[in-house]
Amino acid sequence: MKFLVVDDSVTMRRIMVNALQRIGYTDAVEADDGHDALTKFDASIGFIITDWNMPVMSGLEFARAVRATPEGHAVPILMVTTRGAREDIATAVEAGVNNYILKPFTPSVLKEKIDRLLTGSVAAA
């Protein structure tokens, strides 16, 4: 399973990639904004973890752009962000995000959300 980890913070990308490695996912591609992530997204990506607030292209715009591609229709998208307002979460749902984690998070929460998305169908999650 290849992960695409999108965040403008190097620290956050490092934390997420390290957490992924600890739970057994060693194949991860990093991108520092939505635009960079779009250039790195292809059919080999099996899971996307993205921040919301990023320069150039936000995580929300990135999620919409991915959903508009044939290979991005069903890929799980997990948003990891500081935006905890109910309307923000609803907007993320509309953009095609499959689940949501509020920063700061624990590695166990990250694992639980990934497991839930991978074991259930993405459409149902």
Binding site: D7, D8, S9, T11, M12, I15, N18, A19, R22, W52, N53, M54, P55, S58, T81, T82, R83, G84, A85, R86, I89, A90, V93, N98, N99, Y100, I101, L102, K103, P104, F105, T106, P107, S108, V109, G120, A123, A124, A125
Partner: protein
Amino acid sequence: MRPADELLYDSEASLRLVDHAIEELNDAGADLDQETRGFLEHVVAQPGGLNELSRTLLRAYAETIGVVQRIRQSCGMLDNEGLDRLEQMRGRLHEISTATETATTDILDTVTRAIAIVERFDGAAEADRNKLVTSLKEELNGVSQHLQFQDITAQQLGHLANLIADMRHRITHVVTMFAQPEVGPVTAAPGVYDPNASTSGSAEGQAVADEIFAVRVSRKSA
């Protein structure tokens, strides 16, 4: 300092008094002897004389109104909204300071507990060693959570930079009312931050997110 409205009122009253005095002087002219009347006519008619006084005072009054209006505008620019921005900046700085301190002390506590676990490891029985390893993993996993303060405080600093740019814009605007500013144009920080980013309260937000996604799952399943 006297209020602007009071100054304007007094200026208008003074102008009316001057106008009235000039009219009285004209009326009184008929009762004066030839020499005195000639002197007064000279005083009134000469360049810079009383005939021009009224116009000069009106020009001064118009300029005074302009200055008072600019002072009013400048007060408006720095009023409640400006003070609110300053208060937000103070609050942000306090949050950043607290988040940094909390993360540092949490990491320090974690390291201390991890060292204590490692020290117990050497003398521990085989069965206890597995528990100690599990505890050590949990402690070290916690560090990655504490280190996320960097991303959150970066967003708080982004918000702070934007508030400072806004205050600079307001102050520059006030300066331009009175003089040509020597500062360059104001550029706001790019809006890539969450103004509400916080190291606390994520549990409540996560509960809301989980609730929304749970509802979504149940609707999809139905």
